[in-house]
């Protein structure tokens, strides 16, 4: 079995994030890390490989530096990596990104694609669904567990009050939530062996992608303006001196909140 896991490099959400003058993400402005939620997808892929054997591949799209996110997945134990990188891809929105990822997935031809439920930067969480739609594959969303039996993938997902058990034939796309598991830390051996693992770099020509369908030109959404939120005007902060409770309830009543 061949399992492909998508990872993304994002600005660390603990640091200050900024946009460029063109309103795209300023990838130089903040520390770059692997998208936290994608490490759960990596863990899921590794657990399935431990049970079923086969091969694991980490796929990412981004500038050359995004290879760091793939290396993190390789340190955790993924076998090899693919980075889709090309100047023509800069400024791609979700639609264009999903096209490039889909072409790379078709080239790898895995049995299962695993993704984190969303990235902490764009937070759109639509790319997995777009990829599934383009591939024409079923998608099992928000998995807290995945079981592979023969040609079937079956997942459990939490719902508002209970849970669903959902199944589909392979090949399929699965998105996992952080309740899935605790991602492993890379071992010393993992870190050493990751240095020897292969990461292929594919450009759009390698994937047969027309430059007009990706990047800023191939994107359906354009950001016309970006405005920083005005600072909140300072509120009232009081010490609990015995009158604080009455003052709070007065405040709530004034704003018609009770």
């Amino acid at each position: 079995m061949k399992i492909l896991v998508c990872v993304k490099q994002v600005p660390d959400s603990w640091s200050e994030r900024q946009l460029t003058a063109e309103h795209t993400l300023d990838r130089g402005a903040a520390d770059r890390v692997i998208n936290d939620l994608d490490t759960y997808a990596v863990e899921a892929a590794l657990q399935l490989q431990e049970t079923h054997g086969g091969q694991t591949i980490a796929l990412s799209m981004g500038p050359e530096l995004a290879e760091d996110a793939i290396r993190k997945a390789l340190q955790m134990g993924i076998d090899e990596g693919v980075l889709v990188t090309d100047a023509a891809l800069a400024g791609s929105d979700a639609i264009a990104t999903s096209l490039a990822l889909t072409k790379a997935i078709e080239k790898v031809a895995p049995d299962l694609v695993i993704m984190g439920v969303e990235s902490t930067d764009a937070k759109m969480s639509v790319v997995p669904a777009m990829v599934a739609e383009r591939l024409g594959w079923p998608m099992l969303t928000l998995a807290t567990s995945v079981v592979i039996e023969g040609v079937n993938a079956t997942i459990t997902r939490q719902t508002a009050a209970g849970h669903d058990v959902v199944t589909a034939d392979l090949p399929a796309v699965v998105s996992v939530v952080e309740k899935f598991n605790e991602p492993r830390y890379p071992s010393f051996k993992g870190i050493t062996s990751a240095k020897k693992k292969t990461v292929d770099h594919w450009g759009i020509a390698d994937l047969g992608i027309d430059a007009a369908t990706v990047g800023t030109g191939g994107s359906a959404t354009t950001v016309a303006a970006a405005v920083a939120r005005p600072a909140r005007s300072a509120g009232v902060i009081i010490e609990d001196d015995g009158t604080a409770v009455a003052a709070l309830v007065d405040f709530l009543a004034q704003r018609r909140l009770i």
């Binding site: 939490q158 669903d164 359906a220």
Partner: protein, 309 residues
């Protein structure tokens, strides 16, 4: 003829949900609302629906992919420039697939659609607001609580839809276990959210619930509290949990890591109670009390009850 705006609505207990009424109110500003609903469109005509297209639940083989088929067919008939739905996980999947199908674009978690179909989307936890335009059909998911719902009569022409034929490989639901439904409002759409964090302690969520109930609100939590196992993960507010935009957000014993603020800082009014005056969340507070949550919260609950008596 006015442009159609296709709106996917939710009906619970025989009435449109509040987020669905918000969608219709927004849709009317941009054209003639064509509602798509499962089983019944309920009171959609009272909120301006000109067409109420209903698909029987039994005709939907899959909750998401089949709905994409239905919406794609409705869009083929009405050629909308705008499709609106609520920002839920399920709708985001529908939106992503539909945009691919229509060759359009998606904006999720929007708070407004302005004249000329300029979609307003807060990013980085509300620190920056983007004005986005979409080439082709704009598929937009709206954050609940962003629009004030207003009633307005529409033609409400009923249409019964059939599921389009598909050769797609399907997802099958083997088992659906529904637990007890909470009597509290849904976290994502609640007007009032009361959240607890590390500072409320292991046994403190009872008082968080008591204050939520006193204010008619939903219960939320910080990641510290859910990771500690004091409350289920589904209550987590923040970057990796639910994003909320309520009229009132009350944070009890939450210091306010950037990940938490990302999920709540578009709340209209923020109240913070924390014994640590240096907690970063005080920067967002419209009203803050520096003091002990364990003694203050029961007193607040009692004071609210006393004023109502």
């Amino acid at each position: 003829m006015m442009n159609a705006v296709v709106v996917l609505v939710d009906v619970v207990d025989g009435a449109l949900t509040k987020p669905s009424k918000e969608l219709l109110t927004l849709a009317r500003r941009h054209g003639s609302p064509v509602v798509v609903a499962v089983d019944t469109a309920a009171d959609a005509a009272d909120f301006g629906a000109d067409v109420c297209a209903v698909i029987p639940a039994v005709a939907l083989a899959e909750p998401v992919a089949s709905m994409v088929d239905v919406l794609a067919a409705v869009c083929a008939e009405h050629s909308p420039a705008l499709v609106l739905m609520t920002s839920t996980i399920e709708c985001k999947e529908i939106a992503g697939r539909l945009a691919v199908r229509l060759g359009g674009g998606v904006v999720t978690d929007a708070v407004d659609v302005k004249e000329g179909l300029v979609v307003v989307q807060p990013v980085f936890g509300g620190a920056i607001t983007l004005d986005a335009t979409v080439r082709g059909t704009a598929v937009v998911t709206m954050r609940p609580g962003s629009v004030e719902p207003e009633a307005s009569a529409g033609a409400g022409t009923p249409v019964v839809l059939t599921a389009p034929a598909t050769t797609r490989r399907t997802v099958k639901v083997l088992e659906r276990v529904a637990g007890a439904r909470s009597s509290r409002p849904d976290l994502a759409a609640a007007d009032v959210v009361v959240s607890g964090g590390r500072g409320v302690g292991e046994n403190g969520f009872t008082m968080v619930e008591q204050l939520a109930d006193a204010l008619g609100g939903a219960v939320g939590a910080s990641r510290a509290a859910t990771d500690a196992g004091w409350i289920d993960h589904k209550f987590q507010v923040g970057q990796t949990g639910t994003t909320v935009s309520p009229q009132l957000y009350v944070a009890l014993g939450i210091s306010g890591a950037i990940q938490h603020r990302a999920g709540m800082q578009t709340a209209k009014t923020v109240v913070v109670v924390n014994k640590d005056r240096t907690a970063p969340l005080f920067d967002l507070a419209d009203f803050g009390i520096v003091g002990d949550v364990a003694s203050l919260v029961p007193a607040i609950v009692a004071e609210i009850a006393a004023r109502r008596a």
